[in-house]
Amino acid sequence: MSETMTDISAIKLSNAQIAWRAAQDIEDGAYVNLGIGFPEMVAKFQPEGKQAIFHTENGVLDFGEAPKPGEEDWDCINAGKKAITIKPGTAFFHHADSFAMVRGGHLDVAILGAYEVAQTGDLANWSTGKGGVPAVGGAMDLVQSAKRVAVLTDHVTKKGEPKLVASCSLPLTGVGCVTRIYTSLAVVDVVGGKFVLREKIPAISFDELQALTGAPLHVEGEVADLICPEL
């Protein structure tokens, strides 16, 4: 990165802020699956008056918060194998039913992490392609069949390389599946095989953002300021 560029580490959104922004778009009553790790934070930031129902693919709908340490019941876990709790409204079901909910298009939103997202909506998030032990879990099922697939990610890799790219270089999780990307700098939609910039943090210019993006950013109408609370 050239010295004239803004130091993005000082201005970018935190993971919690990215999750907060994604949470604002979830409709009341939506059935939502959150990927393991940082996407799980979305559940904490549901806006007042909007209640989503969360699905975890090992077989629970509408679960409660994590129990206190020492109070875990290891029969009651989420897809990340972390202990959860039940609450009024919780439902248990077996794995084939769980993925019937996914594959049958009953899930409104799936929110996942990404290694790369292409301007075509292709997603790579399961394999770095470097050997070792491959593991896929439910990601390929979720991205092909949820009604809306959104990605939460840093805008660039730790080395500063774009994660929003013209075409993915890593093994694909799904083809043409992502419709919205919440990054540490912007909100970008995938429309007709191109990236459309919807929001960006005020501290970065369009040209700076474009330089950190691996494919053209298009503008259709207004680009809103992406402003999140301190979290």
Partner: protein, 235 residues
């Protein structure tokens, strides 16, 4: 009819070398630890195992792999908090891995139990996990053909069982257990409690006894997570 058996040792003694064995559970939740440990004691080897994961620590499925009884694993996510046993065996070329997306794995097993040889799913279309598989377009969307998955035996963890093999499960420990019970030629169940006929409300039966071969009571079954926190090693 009484499908109850006195011990886990006797229950798994029917499993021969080279068998395909489905093992219920998602991580430690719903994993039939006592049946797996009995299978290790029994000694059957060259097994093909179907499970969502590849074991954690040195108990349960990880212990079965560590004892070199598994020649092939069919799973979706061979990682865990402590995946060393599988990872070392895999990188040493000692165990074959068939990686299957989680929902496809569940549906292949369900299809096996339901007598459906193949089905189409959008899952994995356009990815390397679909390579070599037939595809077809339905209503403008691309789908991959996947085959059923069946087993010689299934090892299942249930909460309640009756002598006919009617089963209930506990919380998220249900996971793969009901579909695996359907997909095996012979299903062996460990239940936390065996009740008399009529002891399970018919409205509450999750797995009807027609899918079950034998039932053994294991009161207060071990939890993989707790064994691993205690750094347990089996045997």
């Amino acid at each position: 009819m009484d499908k109850t058996i006195a011990s886990v040792r006797e229950a798994v003694s029917v499993i021969p070398d080279g068998a395909t064995v489905m093992i219920g559970g998602f991580g430690g939740s719903g994993a039939p630890i006592e049946l797996i440990h009995a299978l290790i004691d029994h000694g059957a080897k060259d097994l093909t195992v179907v499970n969502n994961n590849a074991g954690n620590g040195h108990v349960g499925l990880a212990a079965l792999i560590e004892q070199k009884r598994v020649k092939k694993l069919i799973c979706s996510f061979p990682r865990s908090a402590d995946p060393r046993v599988f990872t070392e065996a895999y990188l040493a070329g000692e165990i074959e891995l068939e990686l299957v997306p989680q929902g496809t794995l569940a549906e292949r097993i369900r299809a096996g139990g339901a007598g459906i040889p193949a089905f189409y799913t959008a899952t994995s279309y356009g990815t390397e996990l679909a390579e070599g598989k037939p595809t077809e377009e339905f209503e403008g969307k691309h789908y991959v053909r996947e085959r059923w998955l069946k087993a010689d035996y299934a090892l299942i963890k249930a909460e309640l069982a009756d002598p006919h093999g009617n089963l209930t499960y506990r919380m998220a420990a249900r996971n793969f257990n009901p579909v695996m019970a359907m997909a095996a030629t012979y299903t062996i169940v460990q239940a936390s409690k065996v009740v008399e006929l009529g002891g399970i409300d018919p409205e509450h039966v999750i797995t009807p006894g027609i899918f079950v071969g034998s039932v053994v009571e294991v009161a207060k079954p071990a939890q993989e997570e707790e064994l691993n926190r205690a750094e347990a090693v089996y045997p």
